[in-house]
Subunit: 348 residues, 2 copies
């Protein structure tokens, strides 16, 4: 089942509008119109629907109004030939690809991610999503794009702060994959656009390698992609951190816990932590984010995690070495004990 | 691609609740609780969501409220194991199967159609649907149930008037399929429950035979199932007829037009029209439903038809003989001319 893998097109510039044909409907992040070049490209589409990115866009509560307008914009297009082109970051991608997957029971879909995180992560794997009652990604479909464009000039036009977010995702997949990708990234990976563009292709390939073994999330193998995310998501909610920053903290937490559990042996730990790329990892203990006074709140956030396997346990990803990460069930109490331990070490 | 074919289970009684396992969420038509036996069966499900059937249920505008409540009813269920069981007629089936297809990106689905039309037609083929801004089936998915139960006692408990609706669908597929199915149905088919139950299995098999050749509606072959529907839908809207009654008129119209066009030769026409089952066909001309004063309204309804191929033309299904029906493009003017012709014959 390779159908979750979308063909990737790496290019310098946005693709020509004509390459999509006449029956095209563009769903795009209105924020991108602040760039004159992108605004001009968008203006060329006769059928288009601009949105404001963010989690509100994905709320099912606002979906009826969106879909009515999109239906009206696309009214004259033949549903058999039409293509929905989605230009934007994660939330626009989740929303726009969900629309494509249910519009007249599914039309052709092309994605053009405009943020590093979307380019590396969320645009791939075919997951579409909306939120229900404020809870993320409660409904959605599996609907891989027929093409994903990765556009250098578009991605490089982002403010540099965004590179930090994406850095964590590349660090994660480099460590999951190991081998030459890890070697090369460990030596030179750092949070700036030129480096991210350089490692974009191997990072996507590494993600697909995991996804391909578990395209519909049935075997559990795909959970490896949640490396660093269990605690990461908790810190994101608890301290209102940007996703990438939170995952960055979560990765360090998972590596240190792997050491505590002796999965990661001292020599290998030293190798990993001394790599240049690892200098950009952040310690949640060191940053004072692990605070046992938050234990109850943390526990309830962990319990809401979709990687939960029972009311007491969840799947956690540990690491023995680059390329040797694995899933193990842990209890919420064990996580909280390790949070407390890493917090006390940082405070010593 | 056989995945659009759901395994069918013919049984006398509703299946035992235990057969679905503990992680089951029932979506059901509340009207069915008026039968004490069915009400008792429904009451056995700890996780259930009752709905009012009809097109309002399928409106995307009311979807956010429904999905919030369904999420809350299903909150404690594991999305990996859970089954959504949908008990109801066409609208409940379209709605419930759409919910199953997007709930946590898709959970297991079992359908138990409670009306003849759903049992024969809408529960099969994997189409789910909601309406947008009052326009039917604008969004949806292809999501075949993993099992469809056809329950004799449930179907026979419907008021007999419902049998008329289903009769047209069976007549249609019998004529599309031809052969032994048509021979047998032509001799004894009539709109009552016992007969419908008898022909349910071959009718579903005939529908799948068409669907299997075009599961995702890509080749056009599946349009054959619209035999009788082009004018049928127009009459349904224009005169607020029940769907089955409208299709019944539409079938007669299509057969008579096939004669006019000399696709259907006099000897074969006589054979078809003299069959006992054909005595239950209704003539739209004879019933005074074809009225040229409605021509403008009719034209605009035809233009809204999804079988439209351009602003001037649509696909129409004609018949040479049982088992020899075919699709041909016709202009809206041709349809209106034939409407006028059949109307004047009836008035002579």
């Amino acid at each position: 089942l390779k159908k979750n893998r979308s063909p990737l097109i790496f290019s310098t510039q946005l693709p020509s509008r004509r390459s999509f044909g006449a029956e095209t409907l563009l769903i795009y992040d209105q924020f991108l119109e602040s760039s004159p070049a992108v605004a001009k490209w968008i203006a060329g589409f006769p059928h288009k629907y601009g949105v404001t990115s963010g989690e509100d866009l994905k709320s099912v509560e606002s979906f009826p109004a969106h879909i009515r307008k999109i239906m009206s914009v696309g009214e004259s297009l033949s549903s058999r030939q039409m293509i929905i082109v989605v230009l934007g970051g994660g939330s626009v991608g989740d929303f726009g690809s969900f629309v494509a997957s249910i519009f007249k029971r599914g039309v052709r879909l092309v994605q053009i991610p405009s943020t590093w995180l979307a380019a590396i992560d969320s645009a791939h794997g075919g997951k579409t999503a909306l939120n229900v009652g404020g809870v993320k990604n409660q409904i959605g479909t599996f609907y891989p794009a027929e093409k994903i464009y990765l556009v250098k000039n578009l991605l490089l036009s982002q403010p540099n702060i965004r590179a930090q977010d994406a850095f964590s995702e590349i660090y994660k997949v480099a460590l999951l994959q190991g081998g030459a990708f890890w070697q090369s990234f460990a030596k030179g990976g750092r949070p700036d656009g030129a480096i991210l563009w350089k490692f974009l292709k191997p990072a996507i390939a590494a993600k697909y390698k995991v996804v391909d073994r578990d395209p519909l999330e049935k075997t559990g193998h795909r959970h490896l992609l949640n490396f660093g995310h269990s605690l990461g998501h908790v810190l994101e909610s608890l301290h209102q951190l940007p996703h990438g920053t939170a995952i960055n903290y979560g990765l360090e937490f998972a590596l240190v816990w792997s050491q505590t559990k002796k999965f990661l042996k001292p020599a290998m730990a030293k190798k990993i932590f001394s790599a240049p790329a690892s200098q950009y990892l952040l310690s949640p203990g060191g940053a004072g984010l692990l605070n046992s006074s938050n234990a109850a709140k943390m526990k309830s956030l962990l319990e809401g995690d979709k990687k939960k396997v029972s009311s007491q346990k969840m799947r956690f990803i540990f690491c023995r070495a680059p390329g040797k990460c694995f899933i193990q069930e842990v209890t919420f109490s064990e996580i909280l004990a390790e949070v407390s331990r890493q917090s006390s070490i940082a405070h010593d």
